[in-house]
Each structure stands twice: as C-alpha cells, then as structure tokens.
C-alpha cells in the first residue's frame, strides 16, 4: 500500500483538476444541450495566454492567472454561448462538428504561436518545488494547493447550483426554458452565466495543469478531454459525481503507472485509461440516462444535384486533368499522390457523416489499423500486393464494427464521443506496440506493387483506386442502401416503423466506411514507403481535422473529395513551417461557421439554372404508372385487436385497460380530448413504447413483443403527428421509402441492393400511391420545401406505398385548411374502397371523423368512454360531457386516475 501512496496522491491532484474541468462541462451541457468537444480547447487558450503573460512578459503568476482565467475564461464563455444558441436548432452532426472545429482552430493558432514542441513550464505556485513528508510519503505543496483549489471551486459551484437564485434559475432552464421565459427571467442570460462559469472552470484547469505537462496544444486539449470520462461518470448530469469521477480517473491512471513500469506493452495504459473509462461508462449507462436534452431541429437547407449529363460531362475533363498530373507535377508529385489517398479517406468519412448522419471521430484509427495489417500480410507473410491491400482494409471492418455495435444504441452525440475516446485510446495504448507500428523509428515497411514502384506509376495506381472507389460510392448512393441511409439520416423513426431494422443499416455503413478508410490508410502508407506511429496522417487528432474539412467541402458525393485532395497539395506549393497550422485555422473556423448555418451554403440559384440548362435536366418525368402493386389484403381480415392495454409512465396511468378492434376494409376512429391517451395507444401498436399489460394481435398473430420494424413488415404501417419526412429527399424518394424500407428489412444483403423485380414493384407502388394522393406533380420536388398540407399528403402516400394492410394515421389533418381536409377525407375513403386495407384514425377534426369513420372509439382519461357508430357518438350525452364538461362527464365505473 505504501508504495502506492505517492501514485494515489498525484492521482488525486490531477484527478481533482479533471473533476473541475468535468463539472464545468456538465454545467454547460445541462443548461444548453450542447456538448462542447472543444472544452479542452478553451483550457488551451487560457494556458497559452498565461504562458504569454507570465513567462514571456514576466507578469507575476497571480496576475497572469487572474487575466487568463477570469478575463479570458468569461469572454470565451460568452462566445461559446452565442455558438451554442445558434447550434441549438441544428442537427446533431452539426452540433458535434462545430465544437470539434473549435479544437482544430485553436490547435492551429496555438501551434503557430509557440510551435509544436512541448515547452516546459516550472511550477509557479508558491513553494512549488517544496514538499513535506507525511507518513513516509513526500507530498509537494503544489499538489496540496491544486487539490484544495479544485475542491473549493467545485464546492462553490455546487452551493451556487443548489442554493442560490441563480442556481435555481439554471436548473429551471434545464427543465423548461420556455417556462423560464414566460415567468419573466431571460433564459439567454441564465445560459450565458453557466457558459461563463463552465468555461472559466476549463480555463482554470488548463492554467493549473500547465506546469504538470508543459505547453503543447494537442496535449493540453486532449488532457482536458479526460474530463469527458469524469462527466460520463456523472452521467453528464450530476456535479458531485462528475468530480468524484475525475478523482477516480486521475487515481486509476496514476496507480496504473506503477504497475505498467514492469510491463512494457502496457506503457500506454495510464494515458489511455481515461478514454477506456469513457467508453466503458458509455456502454454501461442505461440508454434513458443518455438522451440528449434538445430535440428541436431546423430543416436542413435544400440539396441540389446537377443533372446526370452535366456530372458526366464534368467528370471527363476532371479525370483527364488527373491523368496529366505526372506530366507537370515534377517534384510535387508525391503531394498529389497524398492528395488522392486523403480524398479516398474523406469519401469514406462522407459516406458515414453526410449520408447516414453518424459522426466518427476515429477514422484515422481505421486507416492506421489497416495499414499495419497490410504491412504484416505483405512483408511478413509475402502476400501478393493487391490481396494484402484488400485483406488489410478488411481488418478495419471488425474494428469499425467493434466501435459501432455497442455504441449504436446511443444517440449520435454519444456515438461520436465513444469514437473520440476510442481513437485516442488506440493511439496511446497500441500504436507503439510491436504488432502495430513497432518501436522502430521507421515503423513498418509499406511496399508498393512490383509493377509500380516508381512514383509516377504508383500515382496511377492510387488514381485507379480513387476512380473505382468514387464509382462504388456513387453506386452505393444510387442503390437501396444509399436510399435507406438518406431516409435513416432524415427520419429514423419513420423508416423503422416502415420495416427497416435500422441498427443493421448503421453497422453496415460503419463497416463500409471503415473498409474504405482502411484502403486510404494503406495507399497512403505505401506512398510514403513506411508507416510510423508519429505520422500525422495516422494520429487520432487528424480525425478531428478530417471532420472539419468534410464540414466545409463543397458539392455532393463524390465531388467533395476533390476539396480534400486540393488541401493536401497546398503544402507542396506553399512552403513554410506553419502551412498546415494555417490550414487548420481555416478549416476549424469555417467548420464552425458552416455548422452554425446548418450545412454548406447551397449552390446559388443562377448557377443551378445554368447547370440545368447545360445538362438539359428534364422537368419531372411523367412516368407510366403500371397496374397498382398487389397488396395482400385479405378481404375483411380481423386486422388489429387490442386487448386490455395498460401503459404507465412513472405514476401516471396514460392508458388503462383499453380494448378495441380495427378490422380491415373499414376506417375506425379513435377520438377523445387532449391527453386522453390516443397517441400513447398508437405508439404501443407500432412498438415505440412498452405496455405494462395487454395484448396486441394483428391478423390473428400476437405482435406484443415484436420490434417496430417487424410489426411493419407484418403489415402495420403508420404516420406521425409530428411529421417524419426525409426533408432532403424528393417526394418520390420519400414515398418509395415506404415500400423499400420493408423490403430492406433486417437482412444484410437485402439492405444492400434491390432486385430488378423489387425495383419495379417499388416504382409502381410509389407512383400509384402518389396518384391516389394527387401529388404526382410534386414528385421531383424536395419534401422539405413543401407546405404542410402537401407534406401530410406525402406522408400518407409513403404509408400507402408500403405493403401495409392496416394504416395507423395520427392526426393526419392537423395543419390542413378546410378544403385540404375535405380532399384528405376523400382520399382515405377511396383508399379503403380500392385496396381493402383498414385504417385506424386518430383525429381532432370531428367533422372529418364523422364523415369517414364507420366505427368510433372515444377515449377519456386513458379509458374507453364510449364506442359506436358516428351517429351514436354524436348523440351520446357521455361524449358531449367529456368534450364540454358538465355533470355527466364521468360515467359510473370510470373514475379517472387521481395521483397521490
């Protein structure tokens, strides 16, 4: 025990600093909903300002500390609040990219300022180098000071948060910002206060950590990122637990130092341990603890796609230019080769981030793993070059799956956080080891193919790979997997309830992406002849730069990869020590900018018009509609049966012992006042919540325990009250998803590509559904650009296109005007007559319900109040009372739940 004590004491010291940084992070995340990956970058800025004032300008340490922490910190906090406020409305991937961009930006600035080598900083605290002895262990005064400062500061925050008016207001903002606003307090100023405090905490931890590790931008940024593990320990929510988590991480990392002294292969453990803790915590925390607080999303800007002819017409000269590169590049040729390999890497990342909406912060890790595997296959096992390349890249696939499968259950933010930790952990723990890059300075030998050992020949090899991968990426986007990925990115809930097993899709795209990233890593390594752990193209930090570059790369796939190639060539032509750092500043700055506006600026209308003219893009093709697809709707089947359904949320009984029947061939209505439990019943039918009791039978089959996608594949379709459309997709693509999601189903191969017969069925189903709903003229328009009424019709058409026997429609007429509602009612009646399917309709508009439904169920207080045909309902005193209140409101035996 005694020999452990020094390690424990130094662990407590750094751990309390992690804890302090972590509580600052939790405070800002809780109150704003924005997780600041750049928390460490803020710490880095403060540390650099301190260094500049104290070391370079000779200010006394306390004055420099006051300025760098209590002036710089709050200023950064106010800037962060502005950023967070704008990000609140953007998609999760933009929220992640923006704060990652901050890291890249700050790293660039800091490196230009004081270089990339670590500058040692002497302990500046009073009696910094002195120590005293307690029970045979030496403890330095600095250690005591640091620990005491952290405890005081975090304790003060706790008291503030718990007991002061400001603290109450901060917690109130977490609960309900709108309510704070209408109570008369300004939620923005409250959030500003928490950002100021949180960022000042980061600044303080950066300045205090400075003497312990010295001045180095990446090290400081990532060191404070160890606070993420502390925050995970507090479930990103609890301040005292976060502080304890910080202490735990610090102690664990330092104690492990003692044990790994003798075990050389574990030498990277102490520095990777916090990230290991982060990943483990993310895996262990129950899903409901990790729901990100904000869910408001602005519609993404409309995407533009130039006509095929134009794209092909551009591809030819671009390719020709690439073919000519070796004739003019001269000594710069290696930069062009590098550019091509990095373009491949960006393509793989784009597939993941842009197409599927998932963020990976460890793509260089996949590249590194594949490069090492390739070297082993090729050099150690003498495999033929091409076989080694493909096998090497294949090794990255299980690694990708290893990250993706456990993290897939988490929302986008926490997936990104897990990949962030994974990248750093692998770099610290495994890169220097024998089976990875080895201890040798040269690392691993990366041979080129025998026929292309020269630079020019190798350039063409890489170019061939790039062309093939471009074609593959385009093919992926054109095939079923591309379509369902776009649907998944825009409307995950919708594709799941239409029959797609979304977790399978997520893992598939992660695997494809890591395979292509692996290819890029191998090709890059071979271009340099060696792969080393110090190579910037393999370090975890470069994954962050990649994300920033991807954020601002213009155009769609595969064209955005050109941008990456271009940026890689720049250092070849502009010489200077800091070219890459200046580039990082640009990337970081614009990544923040682009994320704040919710994606790259759409192409100007004029340019679009020009492209269209050039390519002569035809107006929406009036496609021949074939015979309506066969819908297996047995005439008058039993449809859906609900028996004794009960659902509780905490103490509240939302639905109590409800039984109803929705047979095929008719429209059944489910009505009732607000809060009666209608949508809750619907969600239970489609499997989005778990009933406490009751049985759901569909066409005679018990579906109570099936996942949403399985129920959909059995023929249960639905729409949503809050519409779930693929906003960036065209109307016809949206509608086709109704059919294609269930065809893709849960099998890997069926998710990849459609058979020709399936293609025809999907096409016919989509056009027939659009015709039924009268929206064929909108087919080629983007769903995000339509009016509410049109969007409702698109959602209905999507549901109609699916192989569904029973449609659950949740308030389909809300937001429609009178004329639109009338037409909507006619469509519903016609659909049931023509296809023999059934409809269960939740609807507020009683006139619509009275007109189209043949049988009605009335819910109130979560219980069935009345059932009968529309005339009976209209004449019912009980129903009138439920709607209008009054003495007859509560029928005998139907006492509403009173909570106690």
């Amino acid at each position: 025990m005694k020999e452990l004590l020094p390690f424990i004491i130094s662990g407590i010291t750094v751990g309390s600093l992690y804890g302090m940084a972590g509580t600052g992070l939790v405070l800002t995340y809780k109150t704003s909903g924005i997780f600041n990956f750049g928390h460490g970058a803020n710490a880095t800025i403060a540390a650099y300002v301190f260094y500049w004032l104290h070391i370079e300008h000779g200010w006394s340490w306390w004055l420099a500390l006051i300025v760098s922490v209590f002036v710089v910190g709050p200023i950064l906090g106010l800037i962060m609040e502005r950023i967070a406020r704008q990000l609140a409305l953007q998609r999760t991937s933009h929220k992640i990219v923006a704060t990652v961009g901050l890291i890249v930006l700050v790293q660039g600035i800091a490196t230009i300022w004081y270089g990339s080598d670590t500058l040692p900083v002497a302990q500046y605290l009073p009696k910094g180098s002195d120590s005293f002895e307690v029970g045979g262990v030496f403890v330095s005064y600095a250690q005591v000071t640091l620990t005491v400062i952290s405890i005081i500061v975090v304790g003060a925050l706790y008291v503030l948060f718990r007991y002061t008016r400001l603290g109450i207001a901060m917690r109130a903002v977490v609960g309900d910002p709108d309510l704070v606003d209408i109570i008369g307090a300004n939620p923005i100023s409250i959030r500003q206060m928490s950002w100021v405090i949180g960022t000042t905490f980061a600044a303080l931890s950066g300045v205090l950590l400075l003497p312990l590790i010295g001045l180095q931008a990446i090290a400081l940024t990532l060191l404070v990122a160890q606070a993420f593990a502390a925050a995970a320990f507090g479930a990103f929510n609890n301040i005292p637990l976060t502080f304890l988590g910080g202490l735990g991480v610090g102690i664990l990392a330092n104690v492990s130092k003692k044990y790994v002294l003798d075990v050389s292969w574990l030498s990277g453990l102490p520095s990777s341990l916090p990230f290991l803790v982060l990943i483990v915590m993310l895996l262990l925390l129950p899903k409901w603890r990790l729901v990100p607080p904000s869910s408001v999303e602005r519609r993404p800007p409309l995407a533009y796609r130039a006509p095929l002819r134009f794209r092909l017409g551009t591809a030819v000269p671009v390719l020709a230019l690439f073919l000519l590169v070796p004739t003019f590049a001269g000594i710069h040729l290696s930069y062009f080769t590098l550019g091509l390999t990095q373009a491949i890497l960006l393509l793989s990342l784009g597939l993941l981030v842009r197409t599927s909406g998932q963020v990976s912060l460890c793509h260089t890790t996949f590249a590194a793993v594949a490069a090492v595997a390739f070297s082993q296959f090729s050099v150690d096992h003498h495999m033929p070059w091409l076989a080694a390349v493909l096998l090497g890249a294949l090794v990255a696939v299980p690694i990708g799956a290893l990250v993706a499968i456990p993290a897939i259950r988490l929302s986008g933010l926490f997936l990104a956080l897990a990949t962030f930790g994974f990248g750093i952990m692998v770099e610290n723990l495994f890169y220097p080891l024998g089976f990875m890059f080895t201890h040798l300075a040269d690392g691993r030998r990366m041979p080129r193919p025998d026929f292309a050992t020269g630079d020019k020949a190798y350039y063409y090899v890489v170019l061939a790979f790039l062309v093939v991968i471009c074609l593959v990426v385009v093919a992926i986007h054109e095939s079923r997997i591309g379509r369902i990925l776009r649907g998944l990115s825009d409307a995950p809930l919708a594709v799941a309830t239409m029959g797609l097993s979304t977790n399978v899709t997520r893992v598939i795209v992660f695997c494809i992406s890591s395979f292509i990233a692996g290819l890029a890593g191998i090709l890059y390594g071979s271009s340099a002849n060696f792969a080393t752990s110090a190579d910037i193209r393999y370090t975890a930090f470069t994954s962050l730069t990649l994300i920033a570059i991807l954020a601002l790369a213009p155009f769609r796939e595969p064209w955005f990869a050109l941008f990456m190639g271009f940026t890689a060539i720049i250092p070849g032509y502009i010489s200077g020590e800091h070219v890459n750092d200046y580039l990082n500043i640009i990337f970081g700055f614009f990544a923040v900018q682009v994320s704040l506006q919710g994606g790259p600026t759409p192409m100007p209308q004029k340019l679009q018009a020009y492209f269209n003219r050039f390519g002569r893009k035809p107006a929406a093709v009036a496609t021949q509609v074939e015979a309506p697809p066969p819908v297996a709707a047995p005439e008058g089947g039993p449809g859906l049966a609900i028996d004794g359904l009960t659902i509780r949320f905490g103490g509240l009984v939302a639905v109590k012992d409800v039984s109803l029947r929705a047979p095929l061939g008719t429209i059944t209505g489910l009505v009732g006042p607000n809060g009666a439990g209608k949508t809750t019943t619907f969600n239970a039918c489609s499997g989005l919540n778990k009933p406490n009791a009751g049985k759901l039978t569909f066409q005679g089959r018990d579906v109570s325990r099936l996942a949403p996608a399985r129920r959909a594949r059995l023929g249960l379709g639905r729409t949503f009250q809050r519409m779930e459309l693929g906003e960036t997709l065209t109307v016809v693509d949206n509608v086709a998803l109704g059919r294609e999601s269930s065809m893709a189903g849960g099998k890997i191969f069926s998710q990849f590509a459609a058979r020709p017969a399936e293609r025809r069925v999907t096409h016919a189903a989509a056009w027939s559904a659009m015709e039924t709903c009268g929206i064929t003229h909108l087919a080629e328009l983007q769903a995000g650009a339509l009016s509410t009424g049109q969007r409702r019709l698109v959602e209905l058409a999507r549901c109609l296109a699916g192989p569904f026997d029973l449609l659950l429609l949740d308030e389909p007429s809300s937001g429609l005007d009178r004329a639109e509602t009338e037409r909507f009612g006619e469509v519903l009646t016609r659909v049931v007559q023509e296809r023999g399917c059934g409809i269960l309709l939740v609807e507020h508009d009683m006139s619509l319900v009275m007109k189209v439904c043949s049988y009605l169920y009335v819910l109130d207080f979560g219980q069935l109040l009345f059932e009968g045909d529309p005339q009976a309902v209209a004449g019912s005193e009980v129903v009138q009372a439920a709607y209008l209140g009054g003495s007859a409101a509560i029928p005998a035996g139907a006492e509403p739940e009173v909570q106690s």
């Binding site: 609960g175 309510l179 606003d181 209408i182 009683m846 006139s847 009275m850 209008l884 009054g886």
Partner: protein
C-alpha cells in the same frame, strides 16, 4: 412583474389584451389564420374550440413564445408584438401553459422562488401556504412528485402572487378529478378578484362559460363565434365542435 398592488383597481380604457388580425404558427405550419380578439379588464373571457383549433397557439402568441407572422399583439396599451416573452412577463403578463406549468425537477420552494422572480421569497411562500396549506407542507418536496391537483395549484400560484396581471390559463382542469376541478375554478375566481384580467381555455366548456362574461370559439385557426357567454347554447357549441361552424 407588476408591483402596483393598489387596493383600488386602476381605471384603464384600453383592453387587457388585443389581437389584431394575427396569423401565427410553427415554422411552415400556419395555425392561426387572421384572428382578432379582445380581452377586457377585470373579467373572465373564455376561449373555446375543439382540439387543434389553435387555442394554445393563441395563448403562446400573446405571451411571446411564438411570434406572429402577421398582425399585432397589444397588452394594456403597449404594442408588444416584437417583445420577448420575459419582457412581456415583467410587464404583468402571466401565461400558465397547458400541462402543469411547473419545474418538475425543482422543489416547491424553488418553484415559488422562480415565480416570485426577484420578489420576496418569504412573501411568496406565505401567500402560497395561506391559499393552499398543502403546498406549505411540501415546500422541500420535488414538484414532480406532487399530485396532479397540487401541481396545478402550484402552477396557478404565479397568477396569484402578484395582483393586477393579465392572466392566460390553458386547460387548468385537464386530467384532474372533478372535486379538484372545483377547487381550481374557485381559485381562478379569486385571482380575478385581485384585479387581474383572465383569458381561460378549458375543455369543460360549460364550466368555463358559467364563469366567463365573454366567449370566443375558435375552429381551424379562425374565430367562428364571439359574444356574451350567455348567448351560446350548449347544443350549438357541440355542433361547432363537430365542425362546419
């Protein structure tokens, strides 16, 4: 927040709330389509209509949670159309939205501190305990663990802590047992007696009508009836709910 707790109500000529040709909604979804409405001082105005008619949207537009796309919102002579919600609240507008307008993660005491909004904490606690002794007994308890009726009492305290406000109440009786509903409606009466004007949305239309002096009926974002509360027959109202009003 209005602190002019004068015993004698001020004589005002302008109505408490006035909407002029207001269009409003969420993003591309238009809910209110050209609504004009007046809430007189020191009385109760009922706002009725089927679900989805736009009642809650109207209240949110008055309190500033939603900005209208067209038209003007006036509160006691001031054109507040461009004001933030918290500025409107500080000028005496008290919106109690549907579904227990309390901070469930805070204690009862902390909720009252928020409601006092800079005013005296002790006063707020004393007023609350006097009006509803049960709240006084549960000051340290998390508001989310109160019963539905107690939560609603706590939410309504905000309208009671300060006199002479413009109060907008959305579905105060929703999901409550009849006996609690009596208490809640009685309390709304008390609030108007303090000089506040009240705009009341409630699903128990007959009860709301019995209390109110004026009534508006909304359907699909348009005013389909306005007049004195006594003029509206129950059967006629139900027909309007069923549509085509």
């Amino acid at each position: 927040m209005s602190t002019t707790a004068a015993a004698a109500p001020l004589v005002r000529t302008a109505p408490a709330v006035e909407l002029v040709d207001v269009c409003s909604g969420y993003g591309a979804t238009q809910v209110l389509r050209g609504v004009s409405l007046t809430v007189p001082e020191s009385s109760i105005t009922a706002l009725l209509g089927p679900n989805g008619a736009g009642k809650s949207t109207l209240l949110k537009t008055v309190s500033g949670l939603i900005r209208p796309t067209r038209g003007a919102v006036r509160v006691r002579d001031a054109d507040v159309t461009r004001w933030s919600a918290n500025r409107r609240a500080r000028r005496g507008l008290c919106h109690i939205p549907e579904g227990r307008a309390i901070f469930r993660n805070l204690t009862v005491r902390e909720n009252l501190v928020m409601q006092a909004n800079g005013g005296s904490e002790a006063d707020a606690i004393e007023k609350a305990s006097t009006a509803f002794p049960v709240l006084g007994k549960r000051l340290g308890q998390s508001a989310g663990t109160l019963s539905g009726g107690e939560q609603q009492m706590l939410a309504l305290m905000r309208a009671y802590l300060h006199n002479d406000q413009v109060v907008l109440v959305d579905e105060p009786s929703l999901g409550l047992a009849p006996i609690i509903v009596d208490v809640i409606f009685e309390f709304l009466h008390t609030i108007t007696q303090q000089g506040s004007a009240l705009l009341l949305v409630d699903q128990f239309a007959t009860r709301a009508l019995a209390m109110a002096s004026a009534v508006y009926v909304l359907n699909r974002g348009e005013v389909v009836f306005q007049g004195k509360a006594g003029e509206l027959e129950r059967s006629e109202l139900f027909q309007r709910y069923l549509g085509d009003g």
